[in-house]
Amino acid sequence: MTFLAQQALAERPFFDILAVPPDVDVVGAWLIALFTLCVFSFLYKDNPFYKFAEHVFVGAGTAFFTLQYYEEGVLEPVIDHIHRASGLIDSGGLLMLGGHGIDPTLGIVFRCIAAALALMLLVRLFKADSWAPRWPLAIMVGVYAALKMTGETQAKLVLPVKGMLTPITNPDAAAWSSDWARVEDTGVFFTIAALVVIVGTICALSHFIFTYKRTPLLGGVSRVGVVVLMITFGSMFGFTVLGRIALLIERVDSLGTLSGNGYQMMGTGTGTLSVMTSPPVLTAVLITLVLVLRKITGKDAGDTAST
């Protein structure tokens, strides 16, 4: 192993705490290849490699998020805030709050109340059905509900309507162009497009009118609405394909950069030996071998097929 390590060291640091992508250290390269391929092995069927990767993922993810919420959501708004406010008391400054300076002592008092209420949440750990956690919970729910109610009514209801109060004719554009490539710039096209948007929105909205009698008019309009909605879903569908495949390509790309670039155990460049001993390829071979062996020995009976 020492020999292999030295081979790698020739080009890459074997372990470097400061190395960040795209130039990770050799240990990192092997970890990345291992975990990536463990997850891909799920495509064959649920298996110990995937289970391992999945549990590492849950563990690492939970730990990482916990650290983030602890540092930015508890230490900073409580400890750092109070610390800063007490600093302002000494310097006799005001604590800025919504563009409005307040007495820092007051700020400290407020934040201590918040901390106390936050502690009431923790009571749940010891007593499941305690009344205490309900107080902070109630405040949180109230704040969220009010924020979403006001903000989203304006941004998703009022402003989109306002955005549609535009003319359906464009006097500045030439009425029609014989040049097929420039049709989109003509006044006729502008009007058609504007009408499509307005009629389309009205029809789609009418499809979601439920509590009024289905007159032939409403029925017909809502039928057009279905067409509009289906084309909308279709475009989402197309874009979703675009997105999912992009994720896969990126993973392949990142594995590709690890097959070579000094991460391989032996050889250099694109020689067979060097490629075969590169993190992704070697790991893939090993995982495949183990899965094949499990199949032969019938040990994989417990795994559920991925289909």
Partner: protein, 224 residues
């Protein structure tokens, strides 16, 4: 009292936030800012409670000799190990390391290097790969399940196809540069119309729930 006080708190905070949305007064802005800061703290602490649950469940499965016992041990080791390192870094028990120098030649110290090392070598590849699996599932679903059985499905698949073609140069070449123009028309006009209807629908839902909560009529969140 067990229910009245929380509901009172909800209504008061809800009204305060709503008021500050419409009002011009400095006081309302200050109250707004402070309440939001409170909500951030509660939000975070509530999240931290979740980890307690995870640990408890995992420990139970380990002690009860659950079939996945070894994996649960792995989970706990990773979780607690990462947590330990992170907390040590946050509180400076592990010294910050120099990550480089800025243009003035001043050394840049970072307290996150160990956390980021693990992040980039374990969490990042795992999460990215988990979601890249969907590329394969969408392919097999395309072959085995996406059927033009109804008028709706036909429309949907055709629109999807046009977008898939219109988004890439090859699709344009194959359709004599029509795909991207059709796509533009679908997206900019028809899709925009459909999206407005859907988004307004979502807004109505938020508005209804929000109103009921702010006015203290919705109490289901207090039940559990």
């Amino acid at each position: 009292m067990k229910r009245e006080i929380p509901i009172l708190l909800t209504v008061l905070c809800g009204l305060a936030i709503t008021w500050s949305f419409f009002s011009q007064s400095d006081v309302s802005k200050a109250v707004n800012a402070e309440l939001l800061a409170w909500a951030v703290v509660f939000f975070s602490v509530a999240f931290l409670l979740g980890i307690g649950n995870l640990i408890r469940i995992s420990l139970k499965q380990i002690s009860s000799g659950h079939r996945d016992r070894p994996y649960k041990i792995v989970l706990l080791v990773v979780l607690l190990g990462y947590l330990g390192i992170g907390i040590a870094e946050i509180h400076g028990w592990l010294a910050p390391l120099a990550t480089g120098t800025d243009p003035t030649g001043q050394v840049i110290m970072s307290e996150n290097v160990r956390r980021d090392w693990i992040y980039y070598r374990i969490f990042q590849p795992l999460q990215a790969t988990m979601f890249s699996l969907l590329a394969f599932y969408i392919a097999s679903a395309a072959f085995r399940a996406f059927r033009a059985r109804s008028f709706e499905a036909v429309l949907l698949l055709m629109a999807g196809a046009i977008v898939m073609l219109g988004q890439v140069p090859l699709g344009d070449t194959l359709t004599f540069d029509m795909a991207s123009r059709w796509q533009d028309f679908l997206m900019k006009y028809i899709n925009a119309a459909g999206q407005r209807a859907i988004i307004m629908g979502a807004a109505f839902g938020t508005l209804a729930t929000g109103l009921r909560i702010v006015l203290g009529l919705e109490r289901s969140y207090l039940s559990e």
